[in-house]
């Protein structure tokens, strides 16, 4: 079961991971995009990491909503509205929860990922963050359905995200800026799938 403190440490852990990997993310985006994904995500996540210091949050969902709004208003680009929507929707199913277990988190994760699809219209195989998040969601649900607790289900989700991320390399991009490259996008890992995997991995480390 994860409480507000755990969720806050999810975000700070993720912010650290993103900051550490910002240059790599930008480098991936340089190859098939416009060389800003790392700085976009770093700017947004570091703003989120400071939220807990700036404000006392009364609930998990209020905190996650604030994270979503912060991402929307600091990241920009394609990833800002997408990750922002993810957290805004994630908050919904957790309203009023003080402790979140595998079942509830699964519902929240599904809402978050569906929010990304609603905003970005990505399909599997389009070479986007969805190609990491969708298998992560599936793996999480499967594990949780089989009785895993939150921590174990997130471990499974993180492994699936990483596989999904790696699988973006041979794909032809069909959404976002990389789609302009057509066939030339093949051979490069998607930056958004990479940052999404960091997000799920950070969850696996903190939401226990």
């Amino acid at each position: 079961m994860a409480d507000l403190t755990a969720f806050q440490s999810w975000i700070t852990t993720c912010a650290t991971a993103i900051a550490d990997r910002a240059d790599d993310l930008t480098e991936l985006d340089r190859a098939i995009g416009d060389a800003d994904h790392g700085s976009n995500m770093k700017r947004g996540m570091s703003a989120c990491a400071q939220l807990a210091e700036q404000e006392d949050f009364s609930s998990i969902d209020a905190y996650l909503k604030k994270v979503g709004m912060t991402l929307v208003s600091t990241v920009g680009g394609a990833s800002g509205p997408l990750y922002g929507t993810f957290f805004l929707r994630l908050a919904g199913p957790l309203a009023a929860s003080e402790q979140v277990g595998a079942h509830e988190f699964g519902q929240a994760l599904r809402a978050g990922v569906e929010g990304i699809v609603a905003r970005g219209k990505a399909e599997l195989g389009d070479k986007t963050m969805y190609d990491a998040l969708s298998p992560a969601l599936d793996a999480f649900e499967e594990a949780a359905g089989a009785g895993s607790d939150l921590a174990d289900a997130l471990q499974a989700a993180a492994r699936a995200a990483a596989e999904g991320r790696d699988a973006t390399e041979p794909m032809v991009a069909r959404k976002g800026r990389a789609s302009y490259l057509g066939e030339r996008s093949v051979g490069h890992q998607d930056p958004g799938a990479t940052s999404a995997t960091l997000l799920v991995e950070a969850a696996a480390q903190t939401l226990t």
Partner: protein, 333 residues
């Protein structure tokens, strides 16, 4: 990376501050929201035009704020679309009661952020229409891509629709005109060198000393193909032909012809390129009603240029000629 800046993280805000200092009578700058606003905004009863996008394309969009063009521009980080808060703040600041037209270049990020802002503005009772420009023929417009990119036509659209708004056309008419301008315009660009995003610190792409990138985007997104550098004459043909073909311009038709510099190409070469473009249009029997040559929608210090042709009806030419008073485009009484 060789740039005139302090901390790369501050480049946009510091440039906006400099812009405010340079144009105290014409512009107001909101540094919190990174907005450039007409000094006299909101203009009561006038449809307001709001555009914006990533920075690094100057003078687009901030340099086109002023009488006869934009009411506000939202400056994102370099090559990163602005966020909904900024766009909402701009929309609220310039609404003069006649509604606000959002002019959005077709990039996933821009479209999503403007959409979110429009939803929020709608909730607060401001009438918003959005028009998305997508004129870049380098990119195939298909179900399986994010569609064509918005590039050069955006400049022409902001001028023409800005004039329509200034003379009192209503929101529906402005939006309809804007869609007509976008539908009638196509562009194609080429790069000789890469740009360098300040925060990234190194060139976005590599080109050998004898190579050029055909179909480049204004964010240094790779284009259709990397090819051997060719004489201006051939480069012009590689740009003009696909544009004419995609627009299916016929002999005897009339266009506004726009040769745009990507930032790092001297005016000397841009005029030379315009000469080549004009020759090709003459050969194709296409009349140039008006022309524009210079650095208007740039990609930081990238060397290269783009050609935009807009099939121009009389109304568009009349509005093109109407007075405009912005840092980047200025003419008329």
């Amino acid at each position: 990376m060789k740039k005139l800046l302090n901390d790369p993280a501050d480049v946009v805000v510091e440039a906006l501050a400099g812009m405010a200092a340079a144009h105290p009578d014409h512009l107001r700058v909101d540094l919190d929201h990174k907005l450039v606003l007409r000094a006299d905004a909101p203009v009561s009863g006038k449809v307001a035009l709001v555009s914006g996008g990533g920075s690094g394309h100057e003078p687009l969009h901030g340099g086109f704020v002023g009488r006869g063009m934009l009411d506000a521009a939202c400056a994102g980080e370099v090559f990163t679309s602005p966020v909904p808060d900024q766009i909402l703040a701009a929309t609220t600041a310039v609404d003069g009661g006649a509604g606000v037209l959002h002019i959005v270049k077709n990039y996933t990020g821009d479209v999503m952020n403007f959409e979110m802002a429009a939803e929020l503005a709608g909730e607060s009772g401001i009438q918003v229409e959005a028009v998305v420009t997508d004129d870049d023929v380098a990119v195939q417009d298909s179900l399986y891509t994010a569609g064509r990119r918005g590039v050069g036509v955006t400049v022409l659209l902001e001028k023409i629709v800005g004039a329509a708004a200034e003379e009192g056309q209503d929101l529906a008419a402005c939006a309809e005109l804007a869609r007509r301008v976008n539908a009638g315009g196509r562009s194609m660009g080429i790069a000789l060198t890469s740009c360098t995003v300040p925060a990234a610190g190194k060139p976005t792409f590599e080109l050998a000393e004898d190579e050029m990138e055909i179909g480049i985007g204004i964010h240094g997104e790779p284009g259709r193909s990397t090819e051997k550098l060719a004489p201006a004459q051939e480069v012009a043909a590689r740009l003009v032909e696909p544009v004419l073909a995609d627009l299916s311009v016929e002999r005897g038709e009339s266009v506004i012809a726009f040769v745009n510099g990507m930032g790092g190409t001297p005016l000397l070469e841009l005029y030379l390129m315009y000469g080549e473009v004009k020759r090709l249009l003459d050969e194709a029997g296409v009349t140039v009603a008006r022309s524009l040559v210079g650095n208007y929608i740039t990609s930081l210090e990238m060397a290269g240029c783009s050609v935009t042709l807009l099939r121009a009806d009389e109304e568009m030419v009349r509005l093109w000629d109407a007075p405009v008073d912005t840092p980047g485009l200025r003419w008329g009484g």
